[in-house]
């Protein structure tokens, strides 16, 4: 269990001034759970992670692991409690997946890094947990970003720590790879009883797949289940002044500009749905009944789209062609 008590994070400038980013943080996270740190850019998510990792000093307060203050740990002892997956790409070439994961046994082996059977078992477990068995002999620089990230997570697991801290683990990944990483983290958190703490901007995944959210906002912070944050209206504070809202069913909703022209759409509803979407993006308002002097009338069916304006009928084969026509012919 990780507990922050009255923690101040920030940095000390070269002139010796203290720049505090977040102060008085009282937060906790526990083994077997995924905890995500959410907050706007520049609020200090990475700084908080690095402070917990002891890569930069805490400016006040304490960080405890299982009730023990981490500032009392030696570097080597700390490496047995907490491992790190840094943000960004790590420029390493010509090292195989297996070699990188094996290096993680560093804090557990002697002078020459000789591996015990137990070390080898832990490395194997990490390789299998992240489905890397077919990639083990490949060079890290030849892998896709998703495979690379799985390797770095496996490396952290092989370090054998109850805590694993990840700084934006899915920043470079496409949607299926993001899902895969979160799915694997969930599975490992439960099966291996690990505590995963990570910073993330993937609100949709985070609200769906984490057990707890630490939310950092200017001058305040919250913690709780994703639902506590959403239903308490706290999440909307993240979008203050941006007009964006988070809908429990639809996910993120973006504001649309006030339309100048209105269109009436009738026809097959599943087709209409996509056309409406495209029209909204192009800046048109949608109305269902002829009352506000619509600009034109659109009929949609499975095979074609028909635009009727001033008794003229024009047929379109794609949504793109329709939008292009509307944009160029006012």
């Amino acid at each position: 269990m990780l507990t922050l008590k009255q923690l101040d994070t920030g940095f000390i400038t070269t002139q010796g001034q203290r720049r505090i980013l977040a102060s008085g943080l009282d937060l906790s996270a526990r083994e077997g759970e995924l905890t995500a740190i959410v907050g706007p850019n520049g609020i200090g998510k990475s700084t908080l992670l690095r402070t917990i990792m002891r890569l930069q000093p805490a400016l006040g307060g304490t960080i405890d692991i299982d009730g023990r203050n981490t500032s009392g740990f030696s570097t080597r002892d700390f490496a047995r409690f907490c491992s790190f997956v840094p943000a960004g790409k790590i420029p390493v070439a010509r090292l195989t997946v297996e070699e990188i994961i094996t290096l993680a046994r560093y804090p557990h082996t002697g002078w020459f890094g000789k591996l015990s059977p137990e070390d080898i078992r832990i490395v194997e477990e990490a390789i299998y947990s992240l489905n890397l068995q077919d990639l083990r002999l490949r060079f890290i620089d030849e892998l896709s970003d998703g495979e690379k990230q799985r390797t770095w997570i496996a490396r952290a697991l092989a370090q054998g720590t109850p805590l694993v801290i990840l700084d934006e683990p899915t920043a470079f990944l496409d949607i299926p790879n993001r899902f895969e990483i979160y799915r694997l983290l969930r599975q490992i958190a439960v099966s291996q009883h690990r505590l995963f703490l990570f910073a993330s901007h993937d609100l949709e995944f985070v609200s769906d797949m984490t057990d707890k959210i630490w939310m950092l906002l200017p001058g305040e912070f919250f913690e709780g289940a994703p639902e506590d944050i959403i239903s308490g209206g706290i999440l909307d504070k993240l979008f203050r002044h941006s007009g964006i809202t988070f809908h429990p069913e639809k996910g993120l909703m973006f504001p649309q500009p006030e339309p100048e022209k209105y269109l009436v759409i009738t026809g097959d509803s599943s087709q209409c749905q996509w056309i409406k979407r495209a029209l909204k993006r192009a800046g048109f308002g949608i109305i269902t009944e002829v009352q506000q002097h619509p600009f034109a009338h659109i009929f949609c069916s499975k095979n074609e789209i028909v635009l009727e304006k001033n008794d003229r009928k024009i047929r379109f084969s794609s949504v793109y062609a329709l939008i292009l026509f509307l944009k160029t012919n006012h």
């Binding site: 890569l55 080597r76 700390f78 907490c82 840094p86 790590i90 090292l95 560093y106 020459f112």
Partner: protein
């Protein structure tokens, strides 16, 4: 997975070991006096060799030269590997820390400074212990300066830049000394900067060998830490490494290796930068533990080859080793850059 590449990999070790032995023997044959392979063998093995002259040439001149090439090649290439790993920069080499510049200043002070001050007319360059001491002192001073800085500066790139700055500043001081020195002194100094493998005596080779072997042993004990450093310093710290201590040890070892070689042979360029890259390509890995033995042997092989080339057949003249390594080294580096496109791919 079995491919022609794999079968090539399997014969790499036998090939480079054979090459090392052939080059050692070949280099023993090189020199201004033509000696047959039989004479060389006899001079090396017989307790009382039949031909005194041949024995003297081999035992007093050629063997120390060959052994100097072997140990200097090992030392320079391993220190290059150390620097490239610590700085995670493919163009780092033994001289990025300014250690050889420090040695140059030491030598310049002795050859140019003191000698013009005390009006020594003659200074016998090879084997002059004052010069050795000066070179060693110069490199140790620069190294100490760098250690003090590196204990305070977190960012390794800053240390790299400071190392280059120290080097430039020291080189400028050397230039001033050169400007105020007389012609013969200047020539003596310039010749020192061109590097030489043949100015070491048998006793000095023992000392060089001891220092190089000591440096290699410490490096062998550091291999685990060097591998961790490949993943970046923050990752290394998060894995429990004491960063400042390890940096200091790596700098000290590099200082020992480079300082020793520079003191005896002058600054020999390029070997330190290219050999680790050749090893990475041949063994197809960046794993420092797996590169280390190959880098050692390849360093010896390549400097021996350089020495072999520097002897113009049938003539007493020997090309300066620094010119030879540069002429051989520059095309290799350019070829690697063009072949890899991205510099980061070199590591």
């Amino acid at each position: 997975m079995s491919s022609p590449e794999d079968s090539i990999r399997r014969i790499i070790w036998p090939v480079i070991i054979t090459l090392l032995i052939l080059l050692i023997l070949g280099d023993l044959l090189m020199g201004s006096v033509r000696l047959s392979a039989g004479e060389v063998w006899n001079s090396l093995t017989a307790t009382f060799p039949a031909d005194d002259t041949a024995a003297t040439i081999i035992r007093q001149f050629r063997l120390p030269r060959v052994m100097t090439a072997v140990f200097a090649g090992m030392a320079l290439s391993v220190s290059g590997l150390l620097m490239q790993t610590v700085f995670r920069n493919p163009l780092a080499g033994p001289y990025v820390l300014g250690i050889s510049a420090g040695a140059s200043l030491g030598v310049a002070l002795v050859v140019l400074g003191f000698s013009s001050l005390f009006a020594f007319n003659k200074i016998s360059l090879p084997g002059n212990s004052a010069m050795l001491l000066a070179a060693a002192t110069g490199s140790i001073l620069v190294l100490l300066l760098l250690l003090i800085v590196s204990a305070r500066v977190k960012d390794i790139m800053t240390i790299l830049i400071l190392g280059v700055m120290f080097g430039s500043a020291v080189t400028a001081l050397v230039a001033i000394l050169q400007y105020f020195s007389n012609e013969s002194m200047l020539k003596a100094f310039i010749i020192w900067t061109m590097g030489s493998l043949s100015s070491t005596t048998n006793q000095q080779v023992y000392l060089l060998a001891v220092m190089v072997i000591l440096g290699l042993l410490v490096t062998a004990m550091m291999l685990k830490n060097l591998n961790i450093l490949m993943l970046g310093e923050e990752m290394a710290v998060s894995m429990g490494m004491n960063l400042y201590l390890n940096r200091a040890v790596i700098f000290l070892v590099t200082g020992l290796l480079v300082g020793a070689v520079t003191a005896y042979c002058g600054p020999i360029g390029f070997i330190g930068i290219i050999v680790p890259h050749i090893a990475r390509m041949m063994f197809n890995t960046s794993h420092v533990g797996r590169l280390f033995p190959g880098t050692i042997v390849l360093g010896a092989v390549i400097l021996l080859a350089g020495d072999l080339v520097s002897h113009i057949p049938g003539k007493a003249a020997v090309l300066p080793i620094n010119a030879v390594t540069a002429v051989l080294g520059v095309p290799v580096i350019m070829w690697m850059i063009l072949r890899n496109r991205k510099l980061s791919a070199l590591m």
